[in-house]
Symmetry: C2
Subunit: 151 residues, 2 copies
DNA sequence: CTGATAGTTGAAGTCAACTTCAAGTCAAGT
DNA sequence: ACTTGACTTGAAGTTGACTTCAACTATCAG
């Protein structure tokens, strides 16, 4: 752990805020890479921290790990990613956030009109039927990513 | 299935947008109630539709089923809930939505300042560290409830 | 009465994103 | 060399909100 240019999993965990178990998990699914010592312990390059910062930021914006992986796959193969590379990826989140804010705002405005009447009509109420569509799909999920939730 | 005042599970599923399996699940956890025929089949009262509309609306606002159950538990025992009862419950969502919109907006504004620099600094970047706090907790979750997600 | 359609059950499976565990091994300061 | 703390692994567990399955049974129009 002496001042070499490689980081142990504990150091990366501490500096990135991810648990060691999460780092191992990310390695298994190919999101990050770690070299090994002769004894089999992980040694990370410093640039993994930026990669992990990207992962956290993307998760905060609401991307799944699959989406994160897809985004990371667009980084150049040969050279190390530049600031412009990271900036390009982040830029693509802007629209997503705008959409999410718009959806929430629409929901809130619908709520305002519902509060007066207590209708919750299955056909017309913006709260129970926000996209004018019945039959929602998929598992339930909360609005906000973990990092933004109320503590 | 003839025009009685009771609804079969299929009818409720169709009119509420919930899958029959979800209705059975909600019954198991005590969110809704169904009478039974002599043969053991479920028969729902019409007012279950408003209750289900509430459940869907609450889910859209990001409440967990536990929170929904807690909210429903505040409904009066003796009489049927009035519009004012439903309205009161919905009103409590307003603040929650406001908070969520604020959190997303803050994230977006942070993103704007990040796009230029591509920094993603673990310490200072609003994207990778939105609440000025490291170490987020809990399982991953997406921003938007199923009904509001991109199709 | 019959056949088609719709309903019943408990147990187990799914999904994402990790965490926990047990049993052991490595690295490093002294 | 020794001790301590950090690290290793694969497998299994967690959480929330359901879905799927297999094997039956009920209801109802005709």
């Amino acid at each position: 752990m002496r001042t070499t240019d490689l980081l142990t999993v504990g150091e990366v965990a501490h500096r990135s805020g991810f648990a060691p178990s999460a780092l191992r998990f990310y390695e298994r699914v190919g999101l990050v890479h770690a070299a090994r010592t002769s004894g089999g312990q992980r040694r990370y390059q410093r640039n993994v921290l930026r990669r992990l910062a990207f992962i956290r930021a993307a998760r905060n914006v609401g991307l799944s790990l699959d989406e994160v992986a897809a985004a990371l796959a667009t980084l150049p193969d040969g050279r190390a990613p530049t600031k412009e590379d990271w900036s390009r990826l982040s830029r693509s989140w802007r629209g997503r956030l705008d959409e999410q804010i718009a959806a929430l705002t629409k929901l809130r405005d619908g709520l305002d009109s519902c509060i007066g009447c207590g209708c919750l009509s299955l056909r017309t109420c913006a709260m129970s039927n926000p996209d004018d569509t019945l039959a929602a799909r998929g598992p339930g999920a909360a609005y906000l990513p973990p990092a933004l939730r109320a503590h």
